[in-house]
Structure formats: structure tokens, C-alpha cells
Symmetry: D2
Subunit: 372 residues, 4 copies
């Protein structure tokens, strides 16, 4: 455990470490290792520090503040698109809902693979806004460009398609819900299919930071900005308290977007809370620097699992490690480490997820490995 005055964790952020503060809230019983998700902690200390340092600066509300303006500028630079519109929202489901609803025409739906977050784990937030999720098969969480193209060709060939929901937008996540990543070639193929049928492309980047720093990926933030019509840079799961930065490359933000955000109940009075956080995350590359910690921890864990003969539900290179456990092993392990139930595999096996994050300590990974 780091101590006051030391730099925080393995990151050279040169800020005082908050870890050694005496918690106000003492967990009951012995502390349990937790790999439940990547949003179990608060925020990166640099964010808390900035909140404190700016606290009594008076600024306008609703995202009109100087912090948001500064953060937008830095994000545009990071995306290599000086013409990008940037808007800050609070959470992932909210972002998916607002973006999809405001980009679709009323008669259009959003194409997603069946495992897409919008299709399964958002309580129907898309349908709530009146739009159908047009589900295509998933391949380790990914949408296949050929299948997309075939679906679109079939749709327009159908003489009755005026009685059907028009595909208006393609939704993909990167990393996907299974932690996998698209290659640049795959993204370009999806973009080409969208172009061929005049669809927009939306990339859900709730965990984008982790994807960008995964060894072997050939997809950069600039690539994402170049190939999509809209995407978001996830903050909640990559070190912020809350917040997602929605980027509309090439001045692509819909007219009166702010009014529609307000109409969805998604506008924060204190927009500064989002602006300050993204300003910090996009200063000196903090966003990607802290993301690396998650990948490094996951790599160590994954190597150990391979060595011990565990089977993965899906192999992926990012911060979500999906492992198949015997039910008895799962029960036993649950006494000592918190993880996520993922799905039932068969009568005797359960898939679980170990998630690492910007805040994961390598010593906890080692402790987990010993337990396995």
C-alpha cells in the first residue's frame, strides 16, 4: 500500500496518494478481493484533486463552462479532428439512448449484434425512445461486416420493406461486451457497408481506453474518429467518477442536440463536473496511461489461468477475463473473491468474469492467482 506523499500506484502522476486515507466506511469482516467490475472505485486521484482545486471557481451551468471548453479542445486534438463536436453525458446507457434516438429518423432502427449492450442490458432504453434494435448474429461479441451487408441487401430487395423498420444506424462496441476488439480492417469493412446503404456508424466506447492501449491493436483514437459518425470515450469505467465524452466527428452533432439532451433528462446543471474530469483525463495522456494498468493486470492473470489449465469462455486481449469454472469451484472461490456471474455454460459449469481496471493493484492479481 502506498503512503501519503508517495506518487500514486504505478503511475507517474505525481499527485498525492489517496489510498492511505482512513476510510470513513469500514467494510464488514475481512476485506475481500474484488474483480467484479471496472467501476468499483471512485476516480483517479488526479480528478479528485482537480475537483478540489477548481471547486469555488464560479462557472456557468449546462456545459457552458470553461472546463468543458478546455476538455473539448483537448479531445478534438486527441481525435485528430479539429472539427469534431464534443458533448459530455453522465453514463453509458444514457449516452446510447440519447445518441441513437437523436440520430435516427422516426422510422429507423439501430442495427446491433445480438450481444450488443443496447440489445440486452439496458432495460429496453432504446425501445423506450421508440426505436427497434435490429439484431444480427454476434461472433465473440462482434458484428460481421459481410453479414451486415447481406442483411442490408436483403432488406432493400424485399418488396415489402416499407412495412418494416429501416436500418438507420449501426451500433458496435469497442471493446465489445466480450472484451474483444475489432481490427482496423474490420472497422473499415463495416464503414464500407454503412456507406453502401447510407447508414450511420456509432461506436460505443464505454471501455475505449482499454481497447486503445491493448498490445496488438491497430485501431487508434483517430481511426475511430475517422471511421464513425459518432462515438463516445468512456469515463465511468476508465477512471472518472461518472461521464462519457460523445464525439461527433466532422461537425456531426445534430441541430438542437442540447435541447434534446435536456428533453431526455440527461443534461447536468453542473456540467463542470464532466468537463473537469475529461480535462484531466486528456491532459498529458492520463486517459490511456491509466488504462494500461488494467491491461497489464489482465495479461498477468490470463497467463496464470492458461498455465493452470483454465478454459476461457471467449479469448480476448482486454480487461475482462472470461473464464469457465466448475460450479463447485465457483462456489468455493466466491467465498474469497468477488467476481461477476456471466452465464450458465452447462449443468456443471458457469462462466464468470474477472475485470481489471485503472485501479487494480498487481498485488491483488497475485493474490487471486494464488487462490485459483
Amino acid at each position: 500500500m502506498a503512503h501519503a506523499g508517495q506518487s500514486c500506484m504505478q503511475l507517474a502522476c505525481k499527485l498525492p496518494c489517496y489510498r492511505c486515507f482512513q476510510p470513513l466506511y469500514q467494510a464488514e469482516g475481512d476485506p475481500m478481493l474484488s474483480f467484479v467490475n471496472d467501476y468499483s472505485e471512485g476516480a483517479h486521484p488526479a480528478i479528485l484533486d482537480a475537483l478540489a482545486r477548481t471547486n469555488l471557481v464560479q462557472e456557468p451551468g449546462y456545459g457552458e463552462d470553461a472546463f468543458c471548453a478546455s476538455a473539448r479542445k483537448k479531445i478534438r486534438a486527441a481525435c485528430a479532428d479539429p472539427t469534431a463536436d464534443v458533448y459530455f453525458l453522465a453514463g453509458g446507457t444514457q449516452t446510447n439512448q440519447v445518441v441513437i434516438d437523436t440520430l435516427l429518423a422516426p422510422y429507423e432502427g439501430v442495427v446491433a449484434c445480438e450481444s450488443g449492450h443496447v440489445n440486452v442490458h439496458e432495460a429496453g432504453a432504446i425501445e423506450y425512445t421508440g426505436h427497434k434494435v435490429l439484431a444480427l448474429p454476434q461472433h465473440e461479441g462482434k458484428l460481421n461486416a459481410s453479414e451486415l451487408e447481406e442483411y442490408l441487401a436483403t432488406f432493400y430487395a424485399d418488396e415489402n420493406h416499407e412495412h418494416m423498420v429501416f436500418p438507420g444506424l449501426v451500433y458496435i462496441s469497442h471493446p465489445t461486451e466480450y472484451g474483444t476488439l475489432y481490427s482496423l480492417a474490420e472497422l473499415e469493412a463495416i464503414r464500407a457497408a454503412c456507406d453502401a446503404y447510407n447508414l450511420k456508424l456509432f461506436l460505443d466506447g464505454a471501455r475505449l481506453g482499454y481497447g486503445l492501449v491493448t498490445p496488438g491493436t491497430d485501431v487508434s483514437l483517430a481511426d475511430v474518429a475517422r471511421l464513425t459518425d459518432v462515438f463516445y470515450i468512456g469515463g465511468t469505467k476508465v477512471g472518472a467518477l461518472i461521464g462519457e465524452a460523445v464525439v461527433f466527428p466532422r461537425h456531426g452533432m445534430p441541430a438542437h442536440f442540447a435541447t434534446m439532451v435536456k428533453q431526455h433528462g440527461a443534461m447536468l446543471a453542473k456540467g463542470r463536473l464532466l468537463g473537469i474530469q475529461f480535462d484531466v483525463l486528456f491532459t498529458d495522456g492520463l486517459y490511456t496511461r491509466i488504462a494500461k494498468n488494467a491491461i497489464e493486470c489482465a495479461e498477468v492473470l490470463r497467463a496464470a489461468l492458461v498455465e493452470k489449465g483454465y478454459r476461457f469462455l471467449v479469448e480476448n486481449p482486454t480487461n475482462q477475463v472470461l473464464v469457465v469454472l466448475e460450479n463447485s469451484r465457483y462456489q468455493e472461490l466466491s467465498q474469497k473473491v468477488a467476481m461477476s456471474y456471466w452465464e450458465r455454460v452447462d449443468a456443471d459449469h458457469t462462466a464468470v468474469r474477472f475485470a481489471t481496471s485503472w485501479a487494480t493493484r498487481m498485488e491483488d492479481v497475485q493474490a487471486l492467482i494464488e487462490l485459483l
Copy 2:
């Protein structure tokens, strides 16, 4: 200006003061006095301190954390209703939207006075969910119980009312949008009208803290809990970064409320952010203690305005001072002090608002008075 090591502002919160931190962001030009609103700053320092101290405690997401549990318990106690359900949401419009939509049947609308926030300044967030706002006249921002009763009697007497929107819920704000307060007798009369026609009562408490500590009010938090079916305790405008605590007295939360919150895009992954803040605000009465600062500042300002012969648009006892200015005076003053445009009064006069808050410094009030 307070200095490091001093206690913060006039409140005996015994926490280090953040005001003297060197701001990261320097406003351009000379600093301007600002009375634009009550959410121009960040949060009360005690909140920032708690966020820092709890930062690396690992907790479950979605409001299932220990901080939310602790805050709920304290709020129940403050409301004198051990059976109250409490749910934390991010902002006011979101709260109004989610609460109204989930409490109304599909064929019902919400009754509000015409100046109600839901009727004018939420970009149609209520209608977006499919419900009509049934507007009644406003009297200094307040709904009149007799007019409400007459409207309800007329509705049910109309033989065609099956072709009309049924009134299902009454919306009031306390303090109102004009800063006025209901008396206990007025609230009881509205409650009685609701009971007579089987309507629910919802109180928007975006600025509830300020209302509760206003000298002369006879409405307590326990009264609000006793007389309403749902209300919220505003955090955003009373010292929190973001957050509103929705209270459903007497176990009144609708079934599957969390799922519907998710469906509205209103669920935060890091619910702890809301729990920690309300836990702090409801520890040792911080919420009402910091609210008093706003009222004291407003009283001083109001007395000076009276003395100088200014005319109020509406007289009210809370933290929003609504003054009628000659247009030339308004232009002149705008060079030196930030205030809110309220409405056009006539060709030569404009109504403006000076808002005080938990963070207002009395020295700034004095500076404003000198300018007036």
C-alpha cells in the same frame, strides 16, 4: 477570502478550506461578481473530502453500495419515516421525468401550475414520456388548492372526460420557481384535494434545503414526507456536485423502479457518487446548515434593495431575489455583476434574478449592494 487551515466559510464544518487553492483555470479579465444561480460552484468541501477519503473502497455499482445504504438510513430518519423508500438520481429534470412517468398510468397527466418547471423549462421532458402537463393558473408560482379542486370537479362532471387526459398526479415545487413557499395549511389543502379525487402528490424539492431553513416557514421535512406521495431533496443546488434524493414515503416506490430508471437512461454505474454526497449532507445536519448561508445572504440583499427603493417582481423569502430593473440600469449593472435574465416586464423594464447559495460570500453580497 479564507486561507488554508482555516475553517471553511462561516460554517463550522472543521474541514480544510479549498477556496484558496490556486485555480487551475484562470477566468479571463477581472473577476466578476456572480449571482447567476445556486449551482455555479462545485460542492461543499466536506463532500469533496469524503469522496477522497472513500475513493479506493471497492463497492458494488448501481446504488447497491454501503454509502447509499447509509445515506438512505439517515434520510429516513430526517424524514421521520422509517418506511420511506429512497432512490438517488443525478439531476432535477431527470428526477421529474422519471418520477412522473413511473407514477402515472398511461392515460394520466400531471397537474402543475403554468409556471411549474415541468411545464416550461424542461424542453418537454414530461411530454417526451407520453404524458400531458395539465396546467392550472399560478399565483406567485403556487398552485391554489381551491382552483385544483374546482378543476378536478369539473373534469369528472364532464360527460366526455373519457376522451380527455385524466389527472393522475399533482406537481408542486417548494420553494417554487418564484422562490415562494407554501404554508403548511396550503400543503394540507392540496393534499385534501388530491385525496378527494384519488390523485398522488409530488413535491419538487430542487431547492428544498433553502425552503426548510427560511425563517417563518411552518413546513418541516417530516411534514413534506407526511403530506406527499413522493418528493425529492435537491442536492445539485444545495451543495452537492450532482444528485437528488427521491423519497417515497410509506414504502411508496413503484415496483421495478430500478429497471425503469435504467430504461430512462438515468441509472449511474457509480451510484456511490450519489450515496457518499447525501451521506455527508445528512450527517450532523450539514444540508440545512449550509442552506442557511443562502438565506442569510438573501435577507441582507433584500433589505438593501428595499432601502434603495427597488421593486420586486415577486416578493419571496428564499434564496432567489427577483428584482425589476430599468433596462438602462440592467445594461450598466451587467458589466460588473452576473445575474439571470428573468423576463421582460415592459418596454423599459426587465426582471432579473440574484441567486444566493450555500457558497455565497457575504462580502460579495456587500459588494453587490454597493453597486446597486
Copy 3:
């Protein structure tokens, strides 16, 4: 009563009369005079005849049939706009809902006077689609162009209007819900206000036929087509079984309108039912010819009421006669004649409506006059 082989009623329609058919359904007790509304009967006999004569012609569904095509052509001619798009829907509320929802942007609402049908008697059908009805005062059922302009000027002058519902479309009815008519000058003034602020104009013509043939009106069908962006020619209340012809002058129908109609559940498989009826109504001016009967009957009734000293709730020249009755007189009269309760005037008086229609028999009007 006319007899088989005679021409029908006072109209030279040269079709066999159906009135003398022995009804399958015998009303209980003595037949009561009925002036309840203008949709108490089935359809003009010429329509029934055409349905019979075309019954076994096989045609495509969904409005792609030859009858709809023929009717569209005749309506375009009647509107003096060869570029008008015409679409047939089943009923008035449905038409208002579909038209308003498909013409508005998501952040826009519809401006209507407070007595507008969309604002009071459609069970919230507009709000159900997510749009607010922005209510302005009514003057004998009419919207005032100056008040409209002032509202629009105030809206855009308000610095916070991005947090408000944008006015996107103006809704007026002609005749209005009170049976009054706009003059051409009034319509032109409303059009000018719409143009000044870039709003669309929608005219609800549920009773348009009656308005067009009222002596003294200076508004023609071509004027309506010239001055509005969309309007509908009411069939249900002017001799059709069901059906409203929506006209979008100058090729103004939104893209993919048919898909959106389907999405609203408003598309009929047997679109021919609507096409045949409007084809008949717009052959040889049947639509306006049959409307005249209602106006003539109303004029006779109105003259008698004046003579007998009755007071009108609102004076109007069309087919809805709105009279104030003493409550005791109302009770007494209700035993012998069916009319519509309109509204409570005071403790002793009630306003009622006598509606005449294409099917009203002058002998029944005379019988009513004797009762009065």
C-alpha cells in the same frame, strides 16, 4: 320520407334511396329526434352504392389501389394544386396525431389555442407521441395571429429557450371546435406569423366541408391549400363512413410517410375503403353539395332560436348550434330530443349543442323548433 326509386333527400344524386330500407335494428321505444352530432348516421347513399358496385374488383392493399389514385387526382384538382400529395387516414384524432408527429422535429411542439381539439379532447394523443401542445388563448375557438406572433417573439427573445419546447407547427381548425370560421385575412395573418418564425401551418378540416359552403365565408379549398403546409378534408363528419383525406400541398409529404403511418398503427390494409369514398365525394362536387344541407338546416334552427329569445354560447355560422339553456329546460328537453352537453355555464344554465349534418332532415329541424 323518400321512397325506393326516388332520388335521395333533397340532393340530385340520382341514386336509389336507402332510407326506406326496413332497418335490421329497431330502436327501443319511440324514435327520438337526434341532433347529438354530425356522425350519427352511416354514409351518403352514393358511397354505399359505390362500395357495392366495386366490391369484387380486386385491387392492391395499403392505398396502392386504383380508387385511391382516382380520388387523389380529383382532390388535387379541387385544391387547384396538381403537386399536392394526398394520403387517406381513418379518423380525426389519428390524423392529427400522425400529421403532427411526423412533421415536428423531436424537440418541437405544436402551437394550438387552448380550445383546440388536440389540446383537450384527444386523450393526450399528441403528448403520447412525445410532443407538447403549446396552448395560446382562444377567441371563440380561434387563434389570434397577433398573439401568436407575440408568443413567438417572446420565445426567441428568451435567453433560456434552448431549455424550452420549440414551436414547430401551428394547429388550427376550420371550422373551429366552436363552429366559427377564420376569414381569409385571418388565415393570411397566421401564415405570415408562421413564415416569420419558420413554423409550419396545419389546418384540421374535420368539418371542412361545412366551412367551405357557409354563406359569407371568403375561404376556398384552394386558399386552404395555398396557405397551409398540410390540412385534411374531413370525411367522417361530412358523409363518409370513415376517412380523412390528408393533403400536403406542393409535394410536402414527409419522406417515408407510409412507413410512419404503419408505425402508428394507422394504415388500413383495405385502403380502397377510403379511396372509394373520397372518389365519390369528389365526383361532381358531392362533398360540398351534401354539406350545404347541414348549413341550411342550422340556419333555419338558428333563426328560430333567435326569434324565441334563446341565447347562444358562441355565435357561429356553421353546423354546430351552441345554445345556453336553463337547467330545468335542459332536463325537460332531454326527454324528447338528443343533443350534446357542451359545458356548465353557471349554477342555473348549461350550454348544449345541436349539430346538423349532411343527413339532417328539415322536417326534424321543424319538429325540434316546435319543441323549443
Copy 4:
């Protein structure tokens, strides 16, 4: 061709035949055989006759008329449920939309097999109302009870199901979109699965009449009423001009259903149009009598196709004959007979549909067989 004075078609309806009326509208070129669908003609002559005979009877609007009352009574008797609530709507998509939206809680979706009409051919009308269609696999158009039960078990076993759309209602069609029929045992198994998880069951009976008279079926109208929570008896495709009779067995109609119908824009002012038609269809068993014609015609056609060696896309016993044609054969045949494009089978083959109906003439079936 039948002649005036003869009884109509092969049915002993004893009404004058309308077929020999000189059509007002002459199709261009030689008349083409049409098997495009089962709603290509108007209505059964007995319906037109009743419309004519009742035309000038004055009745209240909105379904409050004597015809609707009479029809409701007859339908209750036919369903062997004297407690059933019956409501008449205009069309199939509208009925699906209104029924599903009013029966579901806001957080619920409707379970349907992937080929269900609500899932593919209603332009997103269900999602438009805010509800997700939860699609399960289809087996010749049918939902499998075991798969349904497994889906429900899995849903409730998932620890995250509060973040997912709750299944609230099961939608099935009978006959299905592929013309297949459920057996009584299959319906009972689906009912049991619904009961086990507290779901409602809705049966789309757009073509119910055809299903009820198919030789070999063991499902009666009383069975449907006994096993479902709501279903509808299709009129549009079985001899009516328009209209579907929604049946809520055991007083199951939701409170304020009429207001919600109005809110959906689905209430007809002249409800009598629906009442008269269903009163006729449910007098002396006309509904099932006329349905038999379709089945008899389809059987003859099917036998001929088998004999000639054609392959069916799906084998079914009702009025939709789904045949796989070589593309060249399809092109050639299209010159002489109208049919429905169904789907692309492979590069060389297309599936088409020949639909028979209450109005199909056996001589036309014979002509089609000769062409094949």
C-alpha cells in the same frame, strides 16, 4: 360469373349478388388472376347489405351504439364466455399495438417468435410504444413452448435481469404468418409456461376464421378464449371491409381501455361501422361459413401443386399456399397471375404465396392450376 338475382357464390347467403354490377373502375388491359392476398376485395355482400339497411338509423358514436352491443353479445356467445369484454378496432397492426401497449407494464416487453408479424412487418409499431419485442426462434412460424419456458427460466436465473427487459406477454398468431396452426396441446403448453412465470398470452387472430375451419384442427374459438388473456377475431382478412374484434376473456379488459384507444388515435367516431360488420359476421355462423371457401380453394390448389411436383416452402393447411418457384418460372407466371413475393430461397429460386380467401372463385383456382 354469377348474375343478379342469383345467390352469391357458393354460400347460401340468399343475398343479391354484387359481382355482376358493372364496375365503376375498369382495370386496364385483360383481367389478371389474382391470388395476392386475402384482402383484395371489399366485403362479403351481407355486410354491404346491412350497412345499407341500417344507414340512416341514428346511433351514438365511439362504439356506444346498438350494433356494437349486439355484436359483442354474439361474439361472447361464440366464445362461450359470457364474461368476455369485446372491443372493436380497425386493423391488425393497430390492434397489436394497442393491445400489447396497454397490457404491458412500462418495464416489460412482448415475447414473440422471430417471424411474428409484430417483429417484422409492422414498421416497429410495438417499439414505437416503448416496448421491446423479445424474439425467440420460429418453427414453421410457431413458438415452441419448451423454448419459451427455457428462455423464461434463464431470464429469472440471470442475476442481472433487473437491467433487462422483463417478459410480460407472449404473442402468437393462429394461423401463423406461415399459415401453420397450433394444436390444442401446443397452445396448452404455451399457456402453462405463461402461468409458470406469470405472463399474459395474446393470440393474433388476423386470419382466425380460416384457422377455425381447417380440417384436422382441434382448436375451437372457445379454446382460444379459455387459453388466452386476449385475442382478436380478424375481420379485414375474413370478409369485412375493415375491423378486428378484440376479446378479453373473463372481464380482462384493462381499466380505461377506451381512453387509451383514443390516445393511440385508434378510436373510430362511427364505431357502428365495426359493430354492424361483426354483427353480420356472427349471425348464423357467417364468419366461419365464408372462411371455408378459402380453405377449400387452397386444398384444391395444394393437391394440384403436389401432383405437378412443386415444392412448398412450408407445408400448411390454411389459406396461404407457399410455393418455391424457379426464378424463370416465377417471371413467366407473373405475366398472367398476381401472387405475393415471399422470400428469396437461393440464387435460382423464389418463394411465393398464393392466398385464397372468402371471395376466391373455384374457377379462378382451376385457371391458376392450368397455368402452373
